[in-house]
């Protein structure tokens, strides 16, 4: 009897957690529809009532929401911008779960809803796009941060697909360079999971710091490097960040969705600073000294635009990097002491021209990244 009770409580807890996640997402879906998307889609729709049969541009989110302050939001902003400017109807769809099957169903739904361009933010869509690009040859797919493949190593990009990759390592490089240039000598990097995009940020960050050391003749920079294993805010992450700050770390590059918020919280408590990721996060906390951005919305905007102007260049991967201003730091909202606009432009020009070479080979472990001056301490 006693033991039964314990097990029943635990079983119920488990069942609830599972039900929880499932329901949370589907319900938030209805939340989306009733608030933001409706407002915007209807307004866009009313502009071109006659021509539109359905929504011509569709965004399918990877389970996240269009206000995740990261990927989905960046992509959505690009879609929204183009739609508002040109009066093209647009809408976003949210899959019920984070699986390729659910993505494909949702993308089909979007296509049946009139979508001519389907924007897929994130590497999670690689397989879904691979499957659908041949099934729907008349529909254009824009795949962010990934290249279509069948999940077991066969890559194929059809003529109607435009994969867009970013050189996150360049954004990370700029952040690392700026941090050391600004006088920080004890740096930290906390990534979500060891995924290619996260790793490129981290590797660039290390090399940026190293490059600044070389230039300034500093030799005692230490960099702690860690993958937290999660993308959500939690006391564990806050506590880990607090421990780093307490042991002398001056700035942490928080690279992975919600964990950034926990790092901000720890930074506020320790009167320290952190570096945001993907989008300009300075509005979320005063502790954000700068953000390593990839200008997702520009890339999506350009992709959608190219379709409507009959210049869609599918079949080949496009890489957004410094040369097309695809990555950068938001200097207007950054809180640097010494690293000024001019220094930023100088180093940006060097990255742009290829004068600095950044090793972004994610098949390597972080220990394989060579540094001359920065001591990288990997925290497991």
């Amino acid at each position: 009897m006693k033991r039964n009770r314990l097990t029943s409580v635990l079983a119920a807890a488990l069942a609830t957690t599972m039900a929880f996640t499932a329901c949370g997402s589907s319900n938030s879906n209805s939340g989306n529809d009733s608030s933001k998307s409706n407002d915007t889609t209807t307004s866009a729709d009313s502009k071109n009532e006659e021509s539109a049969d359905g929504y011509e541009v569709a965004l399918v989110t990877d389970i996240g929401t269009i206000d995740d302050k990261s990927f989905n939001q960046g992509a959505w902003e690009g879609v929204e911008k183009y739609g508002e400017e040109k009066g093209v109807s647009y809408k976003y769809y949210k899959p019920v779960e984070k699986t390729t099957v659910a993505y494909e169903d949702t993308m089909k739904l979007a296509i049946e809803g009139g979508a001519k361009v389907v924007v897929c933010p994130g590497y999670l869509f690689e397989q879904a796009v691979y499957d659908l690009q041949t099934e729907y040859p008349d529909t254009k797919f824009i795949l962010i941060d990934g290249e279509p493949n069948d999940g077991s190593g066969t890559y194929k990009t059809a003529e109607n697909t435009l994969p867009i990759l970013f050189e996150e390592d360049q954004a990370g490089f700029l952040a690392g360079y700026a941090a050391v240039y600004d006088g920080y000598t004890k740096l930290g990097f906390m990534g979500g999971l060891a995924l290619p995009a996260v790793m490129r940020y981290g590797y660039g960050y290390i090399q940026g710091a190293d490059y600044a050391c070389e230039e300034l003749g500093i030799d005692s920079v230490e960099l702690k490097y860690n993958y937290t294993g999660t993308f959500t805010a939690s006391p564990e992450v806050a506590s880990a960040a607090a421990a780093w700050y307490q042991s002398g770390t001056e700035v942490i590059f928080g690279c992975g969705g919600g964990i950034g918020n926990s790092i901000m919280s720890a930074a506020e408590d320790a009167n320290a600073v952190m570096i945001g990721v993907d989008v300009d996060q300075s509005s979320e906390s005063d502790s954000v000294v700068t953000s390593a951005m990839k200008l997702l919305s520009n890339a999506v905007y350009d992709g959608v635009k190219s379709y409507f102007e009959d210049e869609f260049k599918g079949g080949e991967t496009v890489t957004y990097d410094a040369s097309v201003d695809g990555v950068g730091l938001p200097m207007d909202s950054s809180k640097f002491k010494k690293f000024d606009e001019k220094t930023y432009e100088d180093i940006y020009a060097k990255v742009k021209s290829g004068e600095v070479k950044i090793d972004n080979d994610v098949t390597k472990e972080v220990t394989g990244i060579e540094t001359k001056h920065v001591k990288v301490v990997v925290v497991e």
Partner: protein
Amino acid sequence: MSVVYFVVQQMMLFSIPLLIVALGAMYSERSGIINIAMEGIMLMGAFAGTLFLKFTDGTMSGQLQLILAILISAVVGIVFSLLHAYASINMKADQTISGTALNMFAPAFAIFTARIVQPEHVQQVQFTNTFRIARVPILGDIPVIGDMLFKNAYITTYIGFVILAVATYALYKTRFGLRLRACGEHPQAADSVGVNVYRMQYAGVIISGALGGIGGLVFVVPTSTNFNATVAGYGFLAIAVLIFGQWKPIRILFASFFFGLMKTIAASYSGIPILVDLGIPSYFYKMTPYIATLIVLVFTSKNSQAPKAEGIPYDKGAR
């Protein structure tokens, strides 16, 4: 020594919410009602509290604002827990299912409402944390204890201890506490001497709602800059603490400290030089909380002190 102080300060971030929520669940269970809905109640409390913090940002001093937010969280927690009370006391529903339903409802409601009421239509509720106390006057100067408890602290830590004291006293030293406990052990007997069992059970659930709501806010405020419709499973962890603490307040205190300490070490060992120098793989630190829990449960579960009548809807006619 500063490392010890740091660990204690960090431990409070984990322990205090667990303590408050587990004490809440204790009141419900000691009255005979299983309350699996603590996760949902925490979430609702945290949601209402952070929403209040957001909308009143800058209009009043930090600590006053936090205390008002705590009261609001408590009220919302009570209202939410009344659903559970009604289903399980009046309707005699299965208490685990009723609690599960509330757990499923809470995050959806929080996301939906956040999107509607916030001018920017987003699901995250962003707030400004101005509540940290760098040093409590006078008390902060006490050696050792001052460094541990009265520096870099939140007022919620002290509220947690006050709640513990009041909860212990009320449960063991008042007429109300005795009657509540009787209802959890043998409601028919309690009824036969004139105790209104339904009223006692309502009281138990309401207290759990208030404390659960407070616990949710206390959980979110120091560890993030926004509330994103989750309390990361800490409501369930609090129920584990309750069982670990054998439904007794002081044991719950130790259980929550134990969990808190283990979690702190697992999370922050990389910033503690002594632990890093040991050279033990990080996985070891990450699994300690769970292994330690298993071991302790093996030795304590034989003498489980669970209230005898909990989970069974009270039926006046049954003897």
